[in-house]
Symmetry: C2
Subunit: 363 residues, 2 copies
DNA sequence: CTGAAAGCGCTTACAG
DNA sequence: CTGAAAGCGCTTACAG
């Protein structure tokens, strides 16, 4: 009874009554319409302040048929990679006065779809989907026309089942960027990506420059981005007339990297460098190499991809490639909220981060 | 013209017309009210499917005067710590059918307030605020009655300006948990925290058990949680009649840890163990110690706090304390959405993670 | 079991 | 420059 007034929040009607005008006029000052006399404007503003009135965004969204909200769907916001993208999205969205609705999929396409539909019901202005996979295609297709969507970054798509050396260059023909299997043509969604092909090529060029010719690619499960990376590496190697790079498959964990490195380095013909699909694998490989009695980079060069926080912390600090994740998030927002056509596509704004885990081969 | 129908989404009216009933009846089956005949129900459901109807959650929220959305405000979702909490919040919220609106503050109290107000305008059901500081108090107080709020985890509050050894046990009296300076009494908000005092005490007890008596606490800026930790360490040391633990202040970065360790270990009386405020500092200290020619843990034991990903990757792997961050996020949701009183308060559900950076002192 | 009506808090033409 | 009215897509009593 007593705090009845505290519970019921002031509406536009209250403001109108308090300042002796109609609600239409209140709306006008809320919308900063110029057609309001200075005096009424002042009266209304003081009433707003006095009542501590806050417009109900839901009601506004209902009548305006769109809310200032963007939906962000990622595999896992606790992964540093997606966390950074989320931070970039959120920061840029706020500049536009937008809020973001966040959902984690745990890489489950059903959850992905569920989230997307839920966000649609909330009338989000656009959808940003991180780590979309082949399986996302179906719902992206279904929901496509209903909502402006942008994909950011890859995630899982295992391309086949074969494993271990040697190269499978042929298989990769079909994966070339010129005929991507997850393109936007039938989904009405745009894709924003680092150009993994180019980035890995750049790293390979660096290794080649150092004098490395026997490089093993520690590919994890050879997911989509890994396949692209491999292709980039191969074309670089081919350019200088070196042998194709052998591929080693495994999981994508620290332990997998450790085991893989030990096995790779026990072979009769040891490579001079290991290029890992990501930093976690690379760091695992560093441990494995050390356990095999090798010192890094003297006996073996190890490089990664991503530049996670730990890359700076391990010894020696890891040479890797950094992609501008925050900027990616920001660009996804730009794409949704502005008409700029040049924000889409792949990005070559990665950066080679040379630290101490790489050097000239000793032989 | 052609895709007019595609653009205009079907509403409850369309469903009603298509199935030959009133919109009230459609609502009833949407709300799973039992008072609907099986036949009409079937008709309506098929119309819903056929039209691909999706209820407008905004309209529903407007009339029901609350949306199934929770607001989550954290310093930075790209920090692993907050990212994990966010993941916990999101996962649990979804179990309740809730979505979450995410905002990063960058530790700016003004942004915090701004976000909170914005979320309020979106009629969120509750607010979860991570890393609230002393400066958050004002807006928490103002908005308090309007919205159910729960605070999760500490963040910055420097307690004073003095630095370096020796102990400032006395100062800490005023910080004791029995008279917290950020309590919930005047804010109508609950606080969910790891019991840093207890957790650090536990780690101290472990060190003492190993035989360490000369422990330095690498405190960073001695923020609120660090002060609590220090108190926990001191009371443990006091219990066994050891000298109070010296405190070393610095920033909270890898570099700061590295420098601090070098300086600490150059002193005539070297401690046998360094207990760092967080893992990043601890990992920096490991590097510094190694640069000072010491080996870990043989010459010096170094332990951290948090269990970040890199703690497993460095060599030797870091002994640390893990708090169940996901569970924290989940509990925050429980507090907001259920009436359970036992979800609030500090949590002692941390876990000592003993790895290889700690051992008995060699002297 | 079902429907007509009122209303949630706002914005948008349309008059004046 | 200002107001009355209609309407956004839903739910909630109230009748029947």
């Amino acid at each position: 009874m007593i705090n009845r007034h505290e519970i019921r929040k002031p509406t536009i009607k209250d403001v109108a009554r308090e300042s002796g005008v109609s609600i239409a006029t209140v709306t006008r000052v809320l919308q900063k319409s110029p057609k309001v006399s200075e005096e009424t404007k002042r009266k209304i503003e003081s009433a707003i302040k006095h009542l501590n009135y806050r417009p109900d965004l839901l009601a506004r969204a209902l009548v305006m048929r769109e809310s200032r909200i963007l939906g962000l769907i990622v595999p896992s916001s606790s992964d540093q990679y997606w966390g950074e993208i989320a931070a970039g999205v959120e920061a840029r969205a706020r500049e536009f006065g937008y809020q973001i609705l966040l959902g984690n999929t745990g890489r489950d396409p059903d959850k992905e779809r569920e989230l997307a539909e839920h966000f649609l019901s909330h009338k989000v202005k656009g959808l940003i989907v991180g780590g979309a996979s082949q399986a996302s295609r179906a719902w992206l297709h279904d929901l496509g026309p209903a909502i402006k969507t942008v994909l950011v970054g890859w995630d899982a798509k295992t391309i086949d089942d074969r494993h271990v050396l040697p190269a499978l260059v042929e298989d990769l023909k079909s994966l070339s960027r010129s005929s991507p299997d997850l393109d936007s043509s039938d989904m009405e969604a745009e894709i924003l990506l680092t150009d993994d092909h180019a980035a890995a090529g750049r790293m390979a060029a660096y290794l080649v420059e150092l004098g490395h010719k026997e490089i093993v690619f520690l590919a994890g499960r050879l997911l989509r981005p890994a396949a692209l990376m491999l292709e980039g590496i191969q074309s670089e190697l081919q350019r200088i007339g070196a042998w194709p790079c052998p591929v080693w498959r495994s999981d994508e964990t620290f332990e997998a990297g450790r085991t893989a490195a030990r096995q790779i380095l026990e072979q009769s013909s040891r490579p001079t460098a290991i290029f890992a699909y990501n930093d976690v694998l690379a760091i695992g490989a560093m441990r494995g190499a050390r356990e095999a009695g090798l010192s890094i980079p003297k006996d073996i060069t190890i490089v990664g991809f991503d530049d996670i926080e730990a890359a700076r912390f391990v010894e020696p600090p890891l040479t890797t490639v950094r992609s501008p994740k925050r900027m990616f998030g920001a660009r996804a927002v730009d794409y949704l909220l502005t008409a700029e056509p040049d924000v889409k596509g792949t990005s070559t704004e990665f950066e080679l981060v040379i630290r101490s885990s790489s050097s000239c081969p000793s032989r």
